[in-house]
């Protein structure tokens, strides 16, 4: 099984470290050829405007969209969920999202960096409930969830972790928290179940 991290821009080092902590050695993905070699992909946090522009300019947008539509599991954090989202609360001319995840997002919904926060996130994955620390950095908010989207985590009453088939997406950063690996572990299982070859 080969898991990749989209390494165009953002906190790919933190995802790399997190995956290594659970015994996975990930591949950094910047080109179409590299994308072909992975069974699952992490879309890291970062600047969604920057990442979406490079995807577009380097012909990666369509191939990435196709792989996800064909069922490749993806784990998306913060900027990653923005890249995948279908709708936004207002025009976002600087972000060309893939439009695959049926949610409506509000970018920078909690405010600027001064308002970035750590707060309790309640998880419910495979009927196991627990509370972890969610790190929200200039985070977006999910303000509408489509029918095919399952909610797996909440901050207060807001959904912050969702799943739609092969897409696992969240508005916070589990890669910044050392104490808990459950989200990355769950993602690795999704890739294994999808028949990711063991390399």
């Amino acid at each position: 099984m080969r898991i990749g991290i989209l390494a165009i821009q953002g906190d790919m080092d933190l995802h790399h470290r997190k995956l290594r902590m659970i015994g996975i050695s990930p591949l950094l993905v910047k080109t179409e050829e590299e994308l072909k070699r992975v069974d699952g992909l992490v879309l890291p946090g970062g600047e969604s405007t920057t990442i979406s522009k490079i995807l577009e300019r380097y012909g990666l947008r369509e191939s990435l969209k196709k792989r996800i539509e064909e069922g490749m599991p993806v784990l998306a954090t913060c900027a990653g969920i923005i890249i995948l989202a279908k709708k936004f609360d207002k025009d976002e001319p600087e972000v060309k999202s893939l439009g695959l995840l049926d949610v409506k997002l509000q970018r920078n919904a909690y405010g600027r960096q001064r308002e970035s926060f750590e707060g309790p996130v309640r998880l419910k994955i495979n009927d196991v409930e627990k509370t972890i620390t969610g790190i929200f950095i200039r985070a977006p908010k999910i303000i509408e969830v489509g029918k095919s989207v399952e909610e797996l985590g909440w901050y207060e009453s807001d959904p912050v972790l969702v799943r739609q088939g092969n897409i696992l997406a969240m508005t916070f950063h589990p890669e910044l928290v050392d104490e808990d690996n459950s989200i990355h572990e769950f993602f690795v299982k999704m890739v294994e179940e999808k028949g990711g070859r063991n390399v």
């Binding site: 080092d13 970062g46 600047e47 405007t49 920057t50 600027r112 707060g119 509370t131 950095i137």
Partner: protein
């Protein structure tokens, strides 16, 4: 579990999010839009770019809040702004305005020649310049969440940024080869806290992201700094002092993303028009240097 803001983890977290990107100096809303369209990860709001500060002289201070607000309203990406070394009231003002990152910068005229700002009490993260590892660790000890090389701002000449990055990287490498009991002596020589020297020894890197700044003027310069170990690049005068800022901005963004791919670098370096003119740092007088400000 309570809700926390302004933690060190949140500060370094934002710095991590800016990795692999370009932070561009802008002086108005129009330039900020150009930077965002090109793919900048953040903009630095300024009244004058370093090349003009150098030319015009006088005391360079924090930008007018009106200017900073104009830029914050123009873009959705993070906005940084500079304060004078040691001027914690300018920093309080920028935090109040909602700036996302504060650069305690040698490009402005220092307000305090002995003390840098105590950056811990602020909710907003700080970036500081450094010429060597000791300086970097002193700033981190004061609470900086990101380090950048000082380089020599406003010259369009990358030589000083290269010198500073090479110095920091080789000092880090050397520390990883030391034995545990040698670290105290090293800390004393560097003028840096032992616990941070230990961190560098154990991890082979700084505890915060390490970016490049000062004199970067072309996509090749940006990629050079990345290959030398920088994790992102600040471009000051290099974009809006070039003949075609839109093109230059876009090319530098792509150069940082594909810094290790000469085929891409060759393609994007073509037909960019003229880069900023540039100065020979070796011919400058000591008092003209900005990098010697701060310690």
């Amino acid at each position: 579990m309570s809700i926390l803001t302004g933690t060190y983890r949140l500060k370094v977290g934002l710095a991590e999010m800016l990795k692999g990107g370009v932070i561009m100096d802008v002086t108005n809303a129009e330039q900020a839009k150009i930077a965002e369209e090109a793919g900048a990860v953040a903009v630095m709001a300024l009244e004058r770019v370093p090349a003009d500060i150098r030319k015009e002289g006088g005391v360079a201070r924090m930008a007018d809040p009106e200017k900073v607000i104009e830029i914050m309203e123009a873009v959705t990406i993070p906005v940084m702004a500079k304060v004078r070394i040691g001027h914690f009231v300018e920093a309080q003002i920028l935090e109040e305005l909602g700036v996302d990152f504060i650069d305690e910068s040698e490009v402005l005229t220092p307000a305090d020649e002995e003390h840098h700002i105590d950056k811990h009490p602020f909710k907003v993260p700080f970036v500081c310049g450094a010429r060597d590892l000791g300086e970097a660790l002193r700033r981190i000890a004061e609470g900086a969440a990101m380090i950048r090389t000082k380089g020599e701002a406003g010259t369009g000449n990358v030589v000083e940024a290269v010198r500073h990055m090479r110095k920091i990287m080789s000092q880090i490498k050397r520390i990883t080869t030391l034995r545990e009991e040698e670290l105290m002596k090293e800390a004393k020589a560097l003028g840096a806290p032992l616990e941070l020297v230990k961190y560098v020894h154990d991890h082979g890197k700084l505890p915060v992201p390490n970016f490049a700044a000062g004199g970067i003027a072309t996509p090749a310069d940006a990629a050079l700094m990345m290959q030398l170990g920088a994790e992102s690049v600040f471009v000051g005068s290099g974009i809006f002092k070039s003949s075609d800022p839109r093109k230059m901005a876009r090319a530098i963004v792509e150069a940082v993303a594909y810094y290790d791919n000469p085929r891409v670098l060759a393609r994007i370096s073509k037909g960019l028009g003229e880069a900023m003119r540039g100065l020979d740092v070796s011919k400058m007088k000591e008092e003209e240097l900005l990098q010697t400000r701060g310690w």
